[in-house]
């Protein structure tokens, strides 16, 4: 602390005022901070380490070695509070995207849910809203996400399994039956490879209820590029998919600027192994790819950048996670301002959706409640706007109603108890967290430079750079686990057998039959001429490059199915080529 503490009468020699104002003042005795730190480190810390040893390497997942202690020396040099940290809601937005942050509106308590058929799933949705979920994100089954109808051969065994089966607007209407879209903060889905279709369904859903699009808010993930790197629901070649995704943003910019039609994801790339900093760089390069497509169509950065959100991710290291969110906001703000010339604060203030995870285990899954709680707390301390959270049994199966309730209550506890949200950016100013924020920003920028040298977002896919980073990291993580260098309770410390309990949630065995009946019924009652005309308009939009969303809205309203629309896309754009690298 300041040498002002020495200005009492107990000292024989009172320091002059000038001395008392010197930076890095003396600790005990007269040493400067660097000298005092060196003395502490060598004579005290290292001496204790020499005697007892350190418990482990303290290497974080992103490769930053955590130091035993952080001091003002780590954060002072070459940094300015106003330029680098600033105030919430002000450039460079390190401390938050809004001035009031959680003091005026808490993070949005959200649920990602879906299973079986629309009617079964609707009951779960009603329950979630009753429990206090403020946002519903529909988990779609894999056939829907990959553009296959429930009656397609590729859908065998998968209908309703990891999400709800949606074949047509009729299913979407059943799914949201009785749920007031205007009383819920956001509704949406991932729909990464079918962005225009799910956007069209949500647009048509409101329209058929007589709502204006400004009366409710739709959120999509709609980030296909990362599917080719990490998540694997891609349908088309990447360039065509990026165009369709950016069409959704363009359509919203004109018709529903309050919607958030794109959430650019770090999450799956990090889960795949790339580490949170490199994954953030890949996500940023993907975001810039979409933005460049939009700018190429004549939209302004101030018009479209506010419609993009990001989905950061860090599951291994708590303080790295807090710093990651802060660093990502700062990096985004600087890119938008310096590279794109954004002038509106909304274009520079990055809003973030997170999905709380820990390193969950199949061993003793109740422990995952604690892991997920801490993982989510880090995101809250980092200032995320929209919070989803894993259920403790999510590693096992579609979550049970009980585990979903625990997840939702965990968010509500974080938002209401313990004083977690009482002040804005509570870890700002921590020597440790500010140092990590600087280091992570450097890592993200360094990785972004590597990506750009390699050729940008497309090259991450085509050169295998993204998969290489993921595999490197995944193998490194596996070795750290197998060797025990990264402790994991019940896995490599106090190891237990993994177990998938028989109580794992199962979907109703009649789901497929119900879904096949429904799809047959829809096809019987719709007007075939209207469907064909709508699909022909989709063909035309494929050919002439006009925005895909308007003809897709018409097709969806005509009850064309997800599979029928995707088949048209495939016949024009072709299909993706799976990578066999490992």
């Amino acid at each position: 602390m300041g040498s002002g503490y020495g200005r009492g009468h107990h000292r024989s020699k009172e320091p002059s005022v000038n001395e008392s104002l010197k930076p890095q003042p003396a600790g005990p005795g007269t040493a400067s901070l660097p000298e005092a730190l060196k003395e502490w480190r060598e004579r005290h810390y290292d001496a204790e380490v020499a005697e007892k040893g350190e418990q482990r390497s303290f290497m974080s997942d992103v490769g930053i070695k955590i130091a035993p202690l952080y001091t003002p020396l780590d954060v002072d040099s070459g940094r300015s509070y106003l330029e680098d940290i600033g105030f919430p809601g002000q450039y460079p937005f390190t401390r938050g995207d809004r001035a009031g942050m959680y003091r005026t509106e808490s993070f949005v308590v959200s649920a990602y849910s879906g299973f079986g058929d629309a009617q079964d799933c609707n009951k779960r949705f009603q329950t979630l809203v009753d429990w206090g979920a403020e946002q519903l994100l529909v988990a779609l089954d894999l056939p829907t996400q990959c553009g296959y109808d429930s009656d397609h051969e590729m859908s065998t065994g998968e209908v309703g399994q990891v999400g709800v089966a949606i074949d047509s607007l009729a299913d979407m209407e059943a799914l949201f039956d009785g749920i007031d879209l205007t009383r819920i903060k956001r509704v949406g889905t991932l729909g990464n490879s079918i962005g225009p279709i799910v956007l069209a369904m949500f647009a048509a859903l409101g329209e058929r209820r007589g709502l204006e699009w400004s009366q409710y808010t739709v959120n999509l993930q709609n980030d296909p590029l990362k599917e080719y790197i990490a998540r694997g629901t891609q349908i088309l070649p990447a360039e065509a998919a990026a165009r369709l995704a950016s069409d959704c943003v363009a359509w919203c910019a004109e018709h529903a600027p309050n919607w958030s039609p794109m959430t650019v994801c770090v999450n799956h790339i990090n889960a795949g192994g790339a580490g949170s900093s490199r994954s953030a760089a890949i996500a940023l390069s993907n975001a810039m790819h979409y933005l460049d497509l939009l700018l190429g169509k004549g939209y302004g950065i101030d018009q479209v950048a506010p419609l993009l959100h990001m989905f950061p991710d860090e599951r291994h290291d708590f303080f790295i996670s807090v710093a990651n969110l802060r660093a990502l906001r700062r990096t985004w703000a600087r890119l938008m301002k310096e590279r794109y010339g954004a002038t509106r604060p909304e274009a520079m203030a990055l809003r973030m959706t997170v999905y709380g995870h820990g390193q969950e285990t199949l061993q003793e899954p109740l422990n995952n409640i604690v892991r997920i709680g801490f993982g989510t707390l880090a995101y809250v301390l980092g200032g995320a706007s929209y919070v989803y959270i894993a259920s403790y049994d999510e590693a096992v199966s579609t979550p049970t109603e009980e585990s979903v309730k625990v997840a939702l209550r965990t968010q509500q506890i974080l938002a209401n108890e313990h004083g977690f949200i009482d002040t804005i950016d509570p870890l700002g100013g921590s020597y440790f967290v500010e140092t990590l924020t600087n280091q992570i920003e450097e890592q993200i920028r360094g990785a972004l430079s590597e990506i750009e040298d390699a050729g940008g977002a497309r090259a991450v896919i085509t050169t295998g750079l993204g998969r290489r980073w993921m595999t490197e990291g995944a193998v490194r993580r596996q070795r750290a686990l197998d060797s025990g260098s990264r402790p994991w309770v019940t896995v490599n410390k106090w190891p237990q057998q993994p177990n998938v309990p028989n109580t794992a949630f199962r979907i109703d065995s009649r789901t497929l039959q119900k879904q096949l009946r429904r799809i047959a019924d829809v096809k019987a009652r719709r007007d075939p001429a209207r469907v064909e005309a709508a699909l022909a308009a989709i063909d035309e939009a494929c050919r002439n490059g006009s925005n895909m969303v308007p003809p897709t809205i018409e097709a969806v309203k005509a009850l064309a199915t997800v599979g029928e629309i995707c088949e048209r896309w495939k016949s024009h754009f072709g299909v993706f080529e799976p990578s066999t690298d490992f």
Binding site: L142, T156, G157, G232, Q363, A474, V491, V500, N502
Partner: protein
Amino acid sequence: MAASERKVRVLVAKVGLDGHDVGARVIARGLLDAGMEVIYTGLRRTPEQVVRAALEEDVDVIGISILSGAHLTLLPRLRKLLGEAGAQDIGLIAGGVIPQEDIGPLKEAGVNEIFLSGTPVPDIVHYILERYGDRA
């Protein structure tokens, strides 16, 4: 190692629509590091495609990674297709998230072994070498 000995050949495969292939790729790398010859199919293969690849590549064992919940449909189908192709001797192992009560029925349907998510890679290497190493 005698000159005539050939390395164990493994086909690591993703079947169905499940796109999470990190586990599959980490296992593939681990088996490669352990001295096996490894082929990875890439995403979204049908059981027919996997069996065809296994025959073309003359593998000793197929390792399926499956996390989507479609295991009760897809794994028995793979064993049936192997039988129809006269390749009953090719091993079929699976890894992923598979409830305890499904393990018995899957083994009855001809799946040789199940490794749940979180199994250390050396355990899988050990199993494959012990069971299929001498056939190579």
